[in-house]
Amino acid sequence: MNNRELALLALEADAKQKPNEKVHAGELVFTYKEAIEKIRQGDKLAIKLVLNPLMQSLKSKSFRAKVIQTLGLERT
């Protein structure tokens, strides 16, 4: 699974657990669900400000392992 797919799954997990919580990035404010929708629509700002930091963190082995463990993806 590549980092983009894993980042979106991590965001979906966040959105499911905390539907009312928001991410503030500069002047942009999204709920996690809105952020996922924007990213899927190809919104460049949402990709830069929300998806890219998550993908950057996924380069860390420990962060990636935590995401995979939490999402129950060890065997995939």
Binding site: A10, G26, V50
Partner: protein, 231 residues
């Protein structure tokens, strides 16, 4: 004269939160009987900020709100500090900001003009509402560490370590976006003090390589143009 000036506009959902992030610092200043001026909401506009900075030329400055590469933004969504008045930050012990991108240009200019330490971010700052206490701790840590008389070099290390630890803890709690935001903020945090700011400009890089810190004193073409256009 005041020892500290806290500038904290509040005009949208994000600044509601960044305004509240400052409360722990203003509470501390009240508790320790330190003199400070709180330029909050309607007082956080250019005319008032300039007047206060001029009347308190040695006060340390704390600014929490939106920003961009060139300016710190006030309550009227207009710049309160920009290239026209950044010299008002000169010779102060520090300017601590929580503002997007200002470290990429405006923060460097504040340091070039003689502000002794400038804490800033070189890209868009982000946070999530499921971890506000952790973000508040990270964004205000430098202020409290400086109150303990730590050197800026050590403060930068301590704050980055704290952000790294908080990012790991948030990931452990399954708050992945919060963790990613914290880690990204850590990467884009800068403190311009003894350290020479990095540059992507080849001309500037050559100037710094040959002249050291003085290489930053040479105006860029855009700065030179800005000064020439000034009445």
């Amino acid at each position: 004269m005041a020892e500290y000036i806290v500038i904290r506009p509040r005009f949208d959902e994000t600044t509601e939160i960044s305004h509240a992030f400052c409360n722990c610092m203003t509470d501390y200043l009240c508790m320790t009987s330190k003199s400070f001026i709180d330029l909050s909401q309607d007082d956080a506009v250019k005319a008032k900020v300039e007047e206060t900075l001029k009347e308190n030329p040695t006060a340390k400055v704390i600014f929490f709100n939106h920003g961009n590469t060139e300016a710190l933004i006030g309550n009227d969504k207009q710049p309160v500090i920009d290239k026209d008045n950044v010299q008002l930050l000169a010779h102060r012990e520090y300017t601590i900001t929580l503002a997007c991108e200002w470290g990429a240009d405006g923060g460097v200019e504040a340091w070039r003009q003689g502000c002794l330490a400038v804490l800033c971010y070189v890209d868009v700052v982000s946070f999530t509402t499921d971890a506000l206490p952790q973000f508040e701790k990270a964004f205000t840590a430098a202020f409290f560490l400086r109150e303990q008389s730590l050197e800026w070099k050590d403060i930068l290390t301590e704050v980055k370590d704290l952000m790294g630890t908080l990012a790991n803890e948030l990931a452990g709690e399954g708050k992945f976006m919060a963790s990613a935001c914290m880690a990204y903020n850590k990467d884009i945090l800068r403190i311009y003090n003894g350290e020479i700011p990095a540059t992507r400009c080849v001309g500037r890089w050559l100037a710094i390589t040959f002249l050291g810190k003085r290489g930053w004193k040479i105006p860029s073409p855009s700065q030179a143009l800005h000064w020439l256009k000034k009445p």
